[in-house]
Amino acid sequence: MTTTTPTLPAGAQATGKTATTAGRVRKRLNSRTATVISVVIAVVWTIPTFGLLVSSVRPEDQIKSNGWWTFFTDPQFTLENYQEVLFGSSSSSGQLASYFINSLAITIPSVLFPLAFASLAAYALAWINFKGRDWMYIAIFALQIVPLQMAIVPLLKFFSTGVSLGGVTIMPAWDLVDEQKFAQVWFAHTCFALPFAVFLLHNFISQLPKDLMEAARVDGATHPKIFRTIVLPLITPAIAAFGIFQFLWVWNDLLVALIFAGGGNETAPLTVRLAEMAGTRGNEWQRLTAGAFVSMIVPLVVFLSLQRYFVRGLLAGSVKG
């Protein structure tokens, strides 16, 4: 795992590549200097990550006494940092293996729930005729602007004391302990993801051919049947795009986890633990470098292998509207 370099070439970003004459023209304009500069920039961009990776496989005394570039003149390789940071026995070691499992347990449902609910809602908003449909879409769309900072304090209060309106309990207190707190995090992530998810999936679903839907309706298919058998298979790319997006967001999130998961090793994800280590053990570079890389490996693999879908989703979400 530690031999994976961060410089993996990814698949081509096929975002409307057209071999036009303009391409050839521009190619001639691309002077040699531009090429050199862009290579230099790409290298500069990668060096901080590369330095981290190199450091994480150097012995502790080496990391602390000289720069990681010394590795190339005096290579000393060890996997001890990873062993220590993942499975170490002292409480200061990181014990990241445990947090790694937390990250997984938080992320998987936090991706699945918003995906399912948002695609159902997006389908209804695009293809079912009902009163107030446009109004409803605008309302959900507009919720994207609410920063999650606006919601965290009261939402946390909902979980601890429940919701009651005029003495009537609408939602009881959740009273969760230890690993049950995952449910809180799932709930929070699902709520916060929905506006963007509905927006993104609606963009795709509403562009499906109208004839197809009408033909299915004429054949007597009900909405759930159309949704399952026609719409879902057709919007797989959109689902993949949002899935990756949400996966990266949840896995890399700090704020929501910090508030809803707490700090212990029963529930807190990698990001929370790493932020804590960076604060309290800022000079333990042998642990921080290896730990940071442990937290990066999964998103990097997901990202580099599925980059095409991610880019497509990004473009659909931001450019096409």
């Binding site: 531009a34 961009w45 720069g67 445990s98 449902p109 920063p147 399952r228």
Partner: protein
């Protein structure tokens, strides 16, 4: 405490419960929606049979079914949005007019506090610096890079390298850069890249993250490092979408690359440019993880989101924390309205 897999099992069990809940809720909903209409269909069939047998007028086809489907398709999303977003946002707004323990109304005191307390004014200024610099620098950089590598032989690899930081968490990025900024006293060998460069150029090593205002700029570098890839990818796609014949025609007219850039490229990608700048501005306004991990808001580096967290969750000042959240919301609104108007024009145009 050795790592013990048995201790992790409750978590996996919980994960399994979550997945079972997922299957039950989503599957149950779809099943319900399949079963209910077919029940209605059977009943209608029975009615028709009964009606034709007795010679009574045929019952009218029920019309409310579309509405019922819409209701159930939207139910989970709308319910969650209400409980998780709408009601909390309203409550936060109310809390911002109350004191720290949310017991008494204090009017606008939390807002006047925000603009009179020196440390908070500092936070607001920092946020302003962030939101002015990050979108500008990241977009400019992304645009330049997109143009430079456009149609180059190594384009996809070059773009992946710039884009890669997007997959790294802000926490991870902050650690990566803290390592670049790491400090060792004079005379010792430096372990941080930046100080090593400074020393080898004959300078003295510095504690980069302790000096305000330079430390805020160094944190901004982290954000730019992450977000430039986003700007580059979106702008690159916009550049590729410029019709080839326009560029060709301009070439035949003998325009210089400079003119080409300002008169062809820039106007064509203007909508994408606006989207990128606005999206980055919104993301920057909410930045939290980087500041918290790198400096925890100390040494005059705090920003609104970070201060909001501290007020609400460290000092127990819910009123002041909520006021900061509301202020953040107010700052975001004009940006989003501009974004929507821009998108609408684009769609019509």
């Amino acid at each position: 405490m050795e790592f013990d897999f048995a201790e992790e099992q409750p978590k996996l069990l919980m994960l399994m419960y979550g997945l079972i809940a997922f299957v039950a809720v989503v599957g149950g909903l779809l099943l319900l929606l399949d079963a209910v209409p077919s029940w209605f269909a059977r009943r209608r069939e029975a009615q028709l049979v009964a009606a034709s047998a007795s010679g009574a007028p045929l019952p009218r086809r029920p019309k409310q079914r579309e509405g019922m489907f819409a209701f159930f398709f939207l139910l989970p999303a709308v319910l969650l949005l209400l409980v998780g977003l709408v009601v909390p946002a309203i409550r936060t707004t109310l809390l911002s007019f109350m004191d720290g323990s949310s017991d008494n109304w204090v009017g606008l005191r939390n807002y006047t506090w925000m603009f009179s307390e020196d440390s908070i004014v500092r936070v607001l200024i920092n946020t302003l610096v962030w939101v002015l610099l990050v979108p500008l620098v990241a977009t400019a950089f992304g645009l330049l890079y997109a143009i430079m590598v456009d149609k180059a032989r190594f384009e996809s690899v070059a773009k992946s390298l710039i884009f890669m930081p997007m997959a790294i968490s802000f926490v991870g990025a902050a650690i990566i850069w803290k390592f670049v900024y790491a400090f060792r006293g004079e005379g010792q060998e430096q372990i941080g890249l930046l100080n090593q460069i400074v020393v080898s150029l004959g300078g003295e090593p510095k504690q980069w993250l302790l000096d305000s205002p330079l430390n805020t700029l160094l944190l901004i570098v982290i954000m730019v490092w992450i977000q430039a890839g986003f700007a580059m990818v979106v702008l690159s796609a916009a550049i590729k979408a410029i019709p080839g014949d326009i560029v060709e025609a301009a070439r035949l007219d003998g325009v210089s690359p400079w003119q080409m850039f300002w008169q062809i490229t820039m106007p064509s990608i203007r909508p994408a440019l606006i989207v990128v700048v606005v999206t980055l501005s919104i993301a920057t306004l909410k930045v939290f993880d980087i500041v918290r991990t790198a400096t925890n808001g100390n040494y005059d580096t705090s920003v609104i989101a970070n201060e909001m967290y501290n007020q609400s969750f460290r000092y127990g000042q819910n009123g002041q924390g909520s006021a900061l959240a509301v202020f953040l919301f107010v700052l975001v609104i004009p940006l989003v309205i501009y974004q929507i108007r821009n998108l609408r024009q684009q769609r019509e145009g």
